[in-house]
């Protein structure tokens, strides 16, 4: 079944705190009475947490690559020597 664009976007607006107080009340009433809708809201919220975690993992990978490139850059040999000297003892 095609997932309703409107429903997905409504949940997005709820998660982004973009609904009015009246809309929030209607939304949360529906969550109480419509189990499938409630599961969709919780799953969509969970997707954001997963994407956040994924984002942080990607940032870490990217940082490691950039760090290695700079540390091993021949043009930055003096900086590398200064850093290495800090950890000699």
């Amino acid at each position: 079944m095609k997932t309703s664009w409107n429903e997905v976007e409504l949940i997005e607006r709820y998660l982004d705190h973009q609904l009015s107080n009246e809309e929030i009340a209607t939304f949360e009433d529906r969550m109480e009475t419509d189990a499938a809708f409630r599961v969709s809201v919780l799953a969509q919220s969970y997707v954001r947490r997963l994407v956040k975690k994924y984002y942080l993992i990607q940032l870490r990978k990217q940082a490691r690559i950039l760090h290695s490139r700079l540390y091993n850059d021949p043009a930055r040999r003096h900086m590398r020597q200064a850093i290495d000297a800090l950890f000699k003892n």
């Binding site: 969970y46 997963l50 994924y54 942080l56 993992i57 940032l59 870490r60 850093i83 950890f87």
Partner: protein
């Protein structure tokens, strides 16, 4: 050349110029602190990178006025957490004491099976959703980065990706407490 002011403006992105500027200006400071504390160069690199991720993450919620000071402060907190009882005396000023390490600083070791599955089954969608939610990019930038001809096409694909990942989450029958966190 990248300036610290540029970093304040663009702090949600991590690119070569930003990383290079911070590497040149801040990494030696953090490396010096960690070496005096008896840590290794690898410790210093890990902590510098964790602090940088905290900076980028924190900048989404509020503008961090002094990124350099923030990085050094977070690095000290990270070292104190890592070294625990082995930490030597490490002075924190009032600003540094006011900082807290973001809870969501994940390590690759903590990567869940679900994240690994999503990387394989929906990596492109995860990249697209990351840009929409967390990378601080405009929809026009997102459309260009992901090869969409129009902003509308990017929005449609975001919807499809969101539904796809949401359905995977549902199908994986996540534990109730995962949803409720």
């Amino acid at each position: 050349m990248e300036t610290m002011n540029d970093i304040q403006i663009r702090a949600v992105h991590l690119d070569d110029a930003l990383y290079t500027a911070l590497y040149d200006e801040v990494f030696p400071v953090i490396a010096s602190i960690i070496s005096r504390q008896g840590g290794s160069r690898i410790d210093a690199e890990d902590i510098f990178q964790d602090a940088l991720i905290a900076l980028l993450d924190g900048h989404q919620r509020t503008t961090i006025q002094d990124p350099v000071r923030y990085l050094v402060g977070i690095a000290k907190h990270l070292w104190l957490r890592k070294a625990r009882t082995n930490a030597r005396f490490l002075k924190l000023d009032d600003y540094e004491r006011s900082l807290t390490i973001p809870d969501e600083l994940a390590s690759e070791a903590e990567t869940s099976a679900l994240i690994r599955f999503l990387q394989r089954a929906g990596g492109k969608c995860m990249d697209l959703l990351t840009d929409f939610y967390f990378a601080g990019r405009s929809i026009a930038e997102i459309a260009a980065r992901h090869g969409f001809a129009t902003i509308h096409s990017a929005s449609v694909q975001k919807h499809k990706c969101l539904v796809k990942i949401r359905n995977i989450v549902k199908e994986k029958q996540l534990r109730h407490e995962d949803f409720m966190e």
